[in-house]
């Protein structure tokens, strides 16, 4: 059986788990190609206009896969921690794609409310049941997938550059080179190393979140906040680049909270959508890196 895996949204973070799980169950996995212009165009055509760019691109991936597999693995990701969420759009993702893309194959859309073992194994049985009837085999596949995921290192922290910028934002913005116009390469060419916010430990993140009046109920948003504040306090990078999706409700709140907390620490928000022109994007990055360089030189003068 061929199972399609759209290379969009949380694929960036959980692809190892998903692929291992499906393969261990004996399915053939078809992954859509890295995002390209064609996929974007397909997505923009079928997705509701008010959605953010990553959502539209996800639609494009699903559209690409729909005739190439027997079923699609598109779990309804409601949350990854208890009583916390990812984003309202994720809760309704299944409705978005099923109402907007015609002739879809069956969707394996069992909901995930938490990555806690007990809850996730339930999901595995529901989702895996589509491919494999034997519960013990599913449990085995699940364990292997979990182990593979745990081994996986997400993100990077480049050394050897005079300056360093921390990338913060949704994983599907940070790791999709099409969406972010290969910002990493652009920065490297400007002589700047890149680290991603996942390099900060969960414990350090949680300590920063404690200072908020209200603990953010969006798990990842809390991580962006905690990591940014920690990075700025410890000076782990020279500046923070927040890759934000245009019209993302979470980003609109988090960028504001982060800015109000980190004060003068260099921080830039880059908004991404299908209309973002690369020329303007490059200008902003160059200007930001120039600013960082000047600040650094200035700092050296002082010391």
């Amino acid at each position: 059986m061929k199972i399609g895996l759209p290379r969009g949204l949380m694929y960036a973070k959980y692809h190892t788990f998903a692929k291992t799980f499906l393969e261990e169950l004996g399915a053939e996995v078809v992954v859509s190609p890295p995002t390209n212009k064609k996929i974007l165009d397909r997505g923009v055509r079928c997705c509701v206009d008010e959605a953010c760019l990553p959502m539209k691109i996800f639609h494009g991936h699903v559209d690409w896969l729909k005739d190439r597999c027997d079923a699609l693995l598109t779990p309804r990701l409601i949350g990854v921690r208890d009583k916390e969420y990812i984003c309202p759009m994720f809760c309704g993702l299944i409705e978005l794609i099923s109402n907007n893309i015609p002739d879809l194959p069956p969707l394996i859309d069992a909901p995930v409310t938490s990555l806690e073992y007990g809850k996730l194994i339930k999901w595995a049985k529901q989702a895996g049941g589509f491919i494999q009837k034997d519960d013990t085999k599913i449990a085995l596949a699940f364990d292997r997938a979990r182990k593979a995921q745990q081994m996986e290192q997400i993100g990077y922290n480049e050394a050897g550059y005079p300056l360093k910028i921390a990338l913060v934002g949704h994983v599907y913005n940070i790791y999709d080179q099409f969406i972010n116009m290969n910002v990493k390469k652009k920065l490297n060419e400007l002589g700047i190393g890149v680290m991603t916010y996942q390099q900060v430990d969960r414990g350090d993140i949680d300590a920063q979140i404690q200072t908020l009046f209200k603990k953010p109920f969006w798990t990842f948003a809390g991580e962006y906040y905690g990591a940014s504040v920690y990075i700025s306090k410890k000076g782990l990078a020279d500046g923070i680049l927040y890759l934000s999706s245009f019209s993302c409700g979470i980003d609109s709140v988090m960028t504001e909270l982060i800015q109000s907390e980190i004060g003068d620490f260099p921080f830039m928000v880059l908004k991404l959508d299908e209309h973002t022109g690369e020329a303007g994007f490059d200008t902003r990055i160059e200007a930001f890196s120039d600013m960082l360089k000047r600040r650094c030189e200035f700092g050296r003068h002082l010391s």
Binding site: E50, L96, K214, G249
Partner: protein, 381 residues
Amino acid sequence: MVVTFPNMGNVAIAAKTLCQGLALPYVMPETNNSKTLAVGSYYAPEEICLPFKLILGNFILAARQGADTMWITGSCGPCRFGEYCELAMRTLKKLGYRTDFVVADLSSDVGVKEFIRRIGTVAAASPVHPVEKLRALRLAYQVVELCDRLDAKAYERAGYEVHKGECRRLLHEYKTKVRKTESPEETMEVLQDYGRRLDAVPADKSKNPLNVSIIGEIFTIIDPFSNLYIEEKLMGYGVSSKRMLSPSWWVKNMIGKPFRLGSRDVYKASDPYLKYSVGGHGKECVGEAALAKAQGMDGAIQVFPLGCMPEVVAKSILPVIQEDKGIPIMTLIVDEVTGEAGYITRIEAFLDLLKGRRNQNQKASHPRAALNMRQFPSKGV
């Protein structure tokens, strides 16, 4: 302690009643207007939704008048509304105001201890006897319920009135008066008086006005300024409108939900289209759209602020319901730059469309067309 609260439809009137009953000094926010919005959007993050801009505007203007305790309802996701208090708090702090926030989160979300602590801070500041405090709370709820009922009555009867504009005038009059009353008793009197007056509005029962259901994001549909007075506009066209979401509905639904009461029919109707909650009131919006035809509505209008994530999900489902149920649904998205001209054009064209559909159905002499006629609203507040 000087209390203030945002304009969230009739909630402000209830909050005022509560303050009066608790003998707490308060600042009553002006009904939302261009000034509120201008102040709010100046200090709010650019991409945040319209409700936040208005609420922030209310708070800043009230703080300038000396308010130091902000009441606001909370929620714990997944929609942005839950982060409003955090953002508003930081903005006011940045502006140099020392303010306390009393956030009414559900006890199930923040824990019973925290919930009681928050209520305690309000209760402790009030000099009146505990029995009076409970009475004040009850009166506040009665006031908001009555207000919501008056509104609903006015919106519905506007389609039947003999003298055009009478319901609209009464609605406007009562809203102006009720904001100026000095005590809960006086407020109740005004409300009851206007209830009688609305009942006495001469009505032509033979009229068969268009019926439109207003659905969408709760703040923008209960705050007339945010939706560019859509219900009053409909009244002007002699259209009856209905809106399920209201502050009193919210309270009833919150209390009823754990016992599987509340708006069960709406949730049930939404299930085939949207099984899971998407935050905000996306599920209610879908359910209401699915029920509208059976409720005798000619059409539904969805209103939500630009960038509202739950409603975007709902919006993408509405075309399917429109086809399934054969009911026209229009979406209006509002933000601070919404142009009124285009807005009116859309509403008028939509009403033309509904009229055209109705005529066509009658021409086809569909036996069920007669069933779609609604009963004239009954009297009594």
